[in-house]
């Protein structure tokens, strides 16, 4: 294979772009799980809301689905994030007063509801036909600059979210959340409003996930019901965060890139399988990723980059 060929370059750009989109998802999940210990089992719901909101708001009018708003991307993405945040707020108001399990159940349920709505409410989402003609930023540029520019946009967003998440981790806000995660009764006993802090982390994480959804819709220029698949969104993102290291923002990014590259590589592998096995590839790939997760966890119990307490704010090392 000629590594300088245009095909290979495109492949690399695609790998990078998808890694970046998954990194955004992972950073969002880390805000919820790594910071606050909130188990979100319905990542796909927030991702799909972001994707569909961005698609519907920016596409030209179509008889197949709601649309014709013609919003520019920069205006549509914040709206997509706000919608997802609003859903998270509503779920959180009900579920965050109590520990763990209820939130997991509620998010699984909501994700399923959202999936069915997207599939069945055709006036809104065009159902299984999907939404096409979604504009991708920079697509007027000549190849490969258009794809590179979009990759640059994704990378810039990852960098921005990383910065914001690192600052949050180092701040007293992150400290209060970690305290709540470790012992909510003790955190309440030192005056922290447990529900409020959890709600903030949950909503913020959901908004970040929606941004990933919007990015993905514009990247593929087409949006179908596969965007709501728990396997490709919820499951894979959890694997990424756990492998990379939950509670570590760099771990979230590393895990996203690593698992995405491996996931893509398994496709090359399974494509070489004999004919009668080809139809079975989808679950063979998932099985391989599951095995990989087990191996990594045996060797690195807390992920490749384990959680560390933030360096103390502006503290000079003590002499002696």
């Amino acid at each position: 294979m000629d590594i300088f060929s245009a095909g290979f370059l495109n492949y690399l750009i695609a790998l990078g772009t998808m890694s970046g989109i998954y990194a955004v998802l992972c950073l969002g999940l880390n805000l919820q799980w790594g910071f606050a210990g909130l188990f979100n089992a319905g990542i796909a719901a927030f991702f799909a809301i972001g994707a569909y909101a961005a698609a519907i708001l920016t596409t030209p009018e179509s008889p197949n689905h709601l649309g014709g708003f013609g919003l520019p991307v920069v205006a549509a993405w914040p709206v997509a994030m706000l919608l997802s945040g609003a859903l998270a707020w509503a779920i959180g108001r009900i579920c965050l007063k109590v520990q763990g399990d209820y939130l997991a159940m509620a998010t699984i349920g909501i994700a399923e509801v959202i999936r069915l709505v997207i599939k069945n409410e055709e006036w809104l989402t065009a159902g299984t036909r999907g939404i096409s003609n979604i504009a991708r930023p920079f697509e007027a540029l000549p190849t490969p600059w258009n794809a590179l520019a979009f990759l640059g946009l994704v990378a810039a967003l990852v960098a921005g979210i990383y910065w914001a998440a690192e600052r949050a981790w180092a701040s007293p806000w992150g400290r209060a959340l970690r305290a709540i995660r470790d012992s909510d009764v003790a955190a309440a006993a030192i005056g922290k409003d447990v529900t409020q802090f959890r709600l903030e982390a949950f909503v913020l994480g959901a908004m970040v996930m929606a941004l990933a959804g919007a990015l993905s819709a514009h990247y593929f220029k087409f949006l179908g019901t596969t965007a709501t698949e728990p396997m490709m969104v919820t499951f894979l993102v959890w694997v990424m965060l756990i492998v990379g290291g939950s509670g570590n923002n760099r771990g979230a990014i590393l895990g996203a890139a690593l698992i995405w590259v491996i996931w893509s590589a398994t496709e090359l592998l399974t494509n070489r399988l004999p004919g009668e096995w080809i139809t079975r590839t989808s679950y063979i790939r998932v099985l391989l990723i599951g095995l990989l997760l087990q191996i990594v966890l045996q060797r690195f119990g807390k992920g490749l980059l384990p959680e560390r307490p933030p360096r103390m704010i502006d503290d000079r090392p003590k002499s002696g």
Binding site: A168, P172, R175, S183, V185, A187, A189, I190, G191
Partner: protein
């Protein structure tokens, strides 16, 4: 400082606390003792806002705070430690203390992102205070250790340290002595006496170590079967027939065992 009026609390069919009334006087170190299952911890948890009572009122500094959540009570000056230490295990020892002070501007994400200088300035002040507390508790060498790696006694100390990060009006100590070695416990008692004498902290103490109770507490309240049995100095309590019976007696043993279950 704390007034408990006719508090009852049932769990299923069991009355853990049964029409209990008592008062913790401002400036006192009041002890609460009683056999296992007497309802001491349940009463503590009601006062601390962990769960509301089935009936009755709790007054804090004259204000009716019945059913208030724990975090609101803290802002009114009520601090506590736990029977089983509730350290923030994946945070360092100093972070456990730094998390305590209320109204930190860095607890707002907006200010953490856009007013970082102010956050840093505040943080410097908090750290000075946290290191003083660590010094007093002789935990300085463990400043950057994960709290989860401390021994049971050190975790108890850290919990006391958390209450020292602010100026609470009243501190509830739930079996502070459990797991703390004798020497250290003596120093801790000295610390409590000092905070009480010099800083006017009121303490309300559950303790099984009678020597510690005798040294620190006046008055001592005795609970049995969800009610207040009697109250007085330790010397009076030791002579009280009903107390001896509650701890050792045969007649009540069966019902006490039922209450525990």
């Amino acid at each position: 400082m704390i007034k408990v009026e006719h508090i009852s609390k049932s769990f299923g069919g069991i009355r853990a606390v049964d029409d209990c009334s008592l008062e913790v006087v401002r400036g006192s170190v009041t002890g609460l003792i009683g056999p296992n299952g007497a309802g001491k911890s349940t009463l503590f948890n009601i006062i601390a806002g962990l769960f509301p009572p089935s009936a009755g009122r709790v007054l804090l500094d004259g204000e009716d705070v019945t059913g208030w959540p724990a975090h609101r009570l803290f802002h009114r000056g009520l601090a506590r430690t736990f029977q089983i230490a509730q350290e923030f295990s994946r945070m360092t020892v100093i972070e456990n203390l730094l998390a305590v002070p209320p109204k930190q501007s860095g607890e707002s994400l907006f200010r953490a992102w856009f007013a970082w200088r102010k956050v840093i300035e505040e943080e410097r002040g908090l750290r000075v205070r946290a290191r003083e507390v660590l010094e007093q508790l002789r935990l300085t060498h463990l400043e950057r250790e994960y709290a989860g790696n401390l021994s049971g006694g050190q975790k108890k100390l850290l919990e006391l340290g958390r209450t020292m990060m602010i100026q609470p009006k009243v501190v509830l100590l739930d079996e502070l002595g459990a797991g703390v070695n004798r020497t250290l416990l003596g120093e801790l008692a000295g610390e409590i006496e000092r905070l009480n004498r010099d800083h006017g902290y009121t303490f309300f103490v559950i303790e099984h170590d009678m020597d510690l109770i005798a040294r620190l507490c006046d008055p001592v309240i005795v609970m049995a079967e969800g009610r207040v049995l009697t109250q007085g100095t330790m010397a009076e309590i030791r002579r009280n027939e009903a107390v001896i019976e509650a701890y050792l007696g045969t007649r009540r043993q069966k019902t006490a065992a039922q209450a525990r279950r």
